[in-house]
Symmetry: C2
């Protein structure tokens, strides 16, 4: 997975465990595409200070994931659900029963909330 | 949810973020049914010290859940999957097609890994 996407996702999972500044800078840098210099200027601190805070935040995110594995578990789960959604399409292709179609719709709705 | 079960579950989610002692004592108290006095005796410390460590660990677990909501999300997800599994049974009851039965088995296997 590309680093930018990975950190952005990790922020979604564990961002609330970071300090306000760490979260803010990571969000500006990885989600809002600000440069280090822009963040530095907006916050009246040096580029190096921004870099240090971002690095520290990243380190914490990776440590949380290493311990808790929530992102890994969620991605695996989403894959399984996508695979189930494909299997449901196969059932639909093998049936013309309206009742079954109706049940399939209801299952899809439930599963789509999980991905 | 009963407090004992709740803390035991929270330990499963966030236990790795506790100190070794917090995790050990919470596990002894809530999962292995040791009393505070027994844990104190086994660790050569006072009953009050054990109590303090357990209380501090519990507080941290609740704080993590308040911020991250992984237990709440997991329980909601498990409910949805249980409901999907019930819906699958309805499809089976409305079909005698062997192909569909086979697909249903495969879906059940995928979903049972998630609960």
């Amino acid at each position: 997975m590309e680093k930018k996407i990975e950190i952005s996702m990790l922020c979604g999972f564990y961002g609330k465990l970071l300090t306000k500044k760490q979260f803010e800078f990571l969000n500006d840098y990885y989600n809002n595409d600000y440069s280090l210099s822009e963040i530095a200027e907006n916050n009246n601190i040096t580029r190096q200070a921004v870099r240090d805070i971002i690095k520290k935040g990243e380190k914490k995110l990776f440590e949380y994931e290493e311990k808790l594995l929530f992102m890994k578990k969620t991605l695996t789960q989403e894959q399984k659900i996508q695979s189930v959604l494909k299997e449901l399409t196969k059932i639909q292709q093998n049936s013309s029963d309206k009742k079954i179609e109706h049940i399939l719709d209801s299952i899809r709705k439930e599963l789509n909330c999980l991905v």
